[in-house]
């Protein structure tokens, strides 16, 4: 099978982040299947490949400064919104793959929110999160929120508030 990994490597793209994420997915699945030791082994592999991915990325290019990085991030998000998410919605509709349709529907909303958070951060000159506020991320879909309190359910994927983790 190996379809995804083959393509990632054929196109000479970066394999280490992908290996890390395959393993973290399997870690999560193992924990949910009540196989904690298996989860730990996958977590070890996932972290090892994540560290390797970071070290390789540093060797590849000089780390961009923060502002330049945010600009590149916005370009990447906008490209996804314009091309990949639009194409994904169309193709998933065409073959009635509702799993992929779900993934791109959530992903598109989350990417748009990431873009808006970056825009607001730049506009506020870094003081986006007020003292009584926190920034939080939904662990189910990636939604980023800012506020004094979290909502009861995630506005993107409807996961309960227990899935939010605070960043500040």
């Amino acid at each position: 099978m190996m379809q995804l990994m083959n393509r990632v490597l054929q196109d000479n793209e970066r394999p280490f982040p992908v290996l890390s994420l395959i393993c973290s997915n399997y870690q999560l699945a193992s924990e949910r299947m009540h196989r904690p030791n298996l989860g730990k082994l996958f977590s070890l592999l996932s972290r090892s490949f994540e560290i390797q991915a970071m070290n390789v990325s540093v060797e590849d290019e000089k780390r961009p400064v923060f502002n330049r990085f945010l600009e590149r991030m916005q370009e990447s998000i906008q490209d996804d919104l314009k091309n990949n998410y639009a194409a994904g919605e169309k193709a998933a509709h065409a073959v009635r793959n509702r799993g992929v349709l779900r993934s791109v529907t959530w992903g598109k909303k989350v990417a748009a929110i990431q873009n808006s958070v970056i825009k607001r951060y730049i506009k506020s000159e870094g003081s986006l999160v007020q003292h009584d506020q926190q920034m939080y991320v939904c662990q189910a879909c990636g939604f980023i929120g800012i506020g004094t309190e979290t909502p009861d359910v995630c506005p993107v994927c409807k996961a309960p508030a227990i899935k939010f983790i605070s960043l500040s």
Binding site: H34, L38, Q52, V56, A92, G99, A111, M135, C141, L167
Partner: protein, 209 residues
């Protein structure tokens, strides 16, 4: 199939204790005793007034293969989100203020979740569905790991993978084993305790189990 309890939903009405014929639901750690649980019995699942108990399967059916066109699109989404994930992590590591770190932390997590979702939809959801086995059999995963640790003993990766595949083949959890990770370079050491990483010399070795 064995029963498990979701502690976030359990309202401690204890009807599972009333009905369980083996006492498996009454434990000090809040989880159901798997050794005592009767395969597929589900009396506690049906008795629970707050739907806090469910059955966990040992075997999972194979998934339908993804259409090639969708696979390409998911690959593109995966690549851009994972670049944003690793980019946020590396940028945060260097000279970032507290506000910058917090933003980059949120962006790293959010993009990591997007990338993970694309991978799951590409068929990498359940470890025993065969994709991992194919990946290990092809030697690709080991080759990539070894490319980073050419000088030292890179055998740790094989021990970990063998342990994972053995567990998956038998539809059970893995055995406990000693393993440590160097959090500086990602080197994996198994079965012997090391003070410093043999690859990069760092003393930041974190052990598992």
């Amino acid at each position: 199939m064995f029963a498990a309890r979701n502690g976030n939903l359990c309202t401690k009405d204890c009807l599972c204790l009333f009905i369980c014929p083996t006492g498996a639901t009454d434990t000090e750690n809040g989880q159901i005793d798997r050794e005592k649980c009767i395969d597929g019995c589900r009396l506690c699942v049906d008795a629970c007034p707050s739907h806090a108990i469910y059955l966990v399967n040992e075997r999972y059916p194979a998934r339908k293969l993804l259409e090639a066109e969708l696979s390409d699109i998911l690959k593109n989404l995966l690549t851009s989100a994972s670049d944003r994930w690793i980019g946020s992590l590396t940028t945060a590591k260097e000279n970032a203020s507290a506000d910058e770190k917090s933003l980059l932390g949120a962006l790293a997590r959010s993009n990591r979740i997007l990338a993970e979702d694309s991978i799951r939809e590409s068929g990498y959801m359940v470890p025993e569905h065969g994709q991992l086995e194919d990946l290990v059999e092809s030697g690709l995963l080991q080759k990539l790991y070894r490319s980073q640790f050419a000088q030292g003993d890179a055998g740790g990766i094989d021990v970990i993978l063998n342990s994972i595949l053995a567990a998956l083949a038998q539809h059970r959890d893995a055995e406990e084993m000693y393993a440590a990770l160097c959090v500086e370079c990602g080197y994996i050491s198994v079965n012997r305790e090391l003070e410093t990483c043999p690859h990069c010399g760092s003393s930041a070795m974190e052990s598992l189990f």
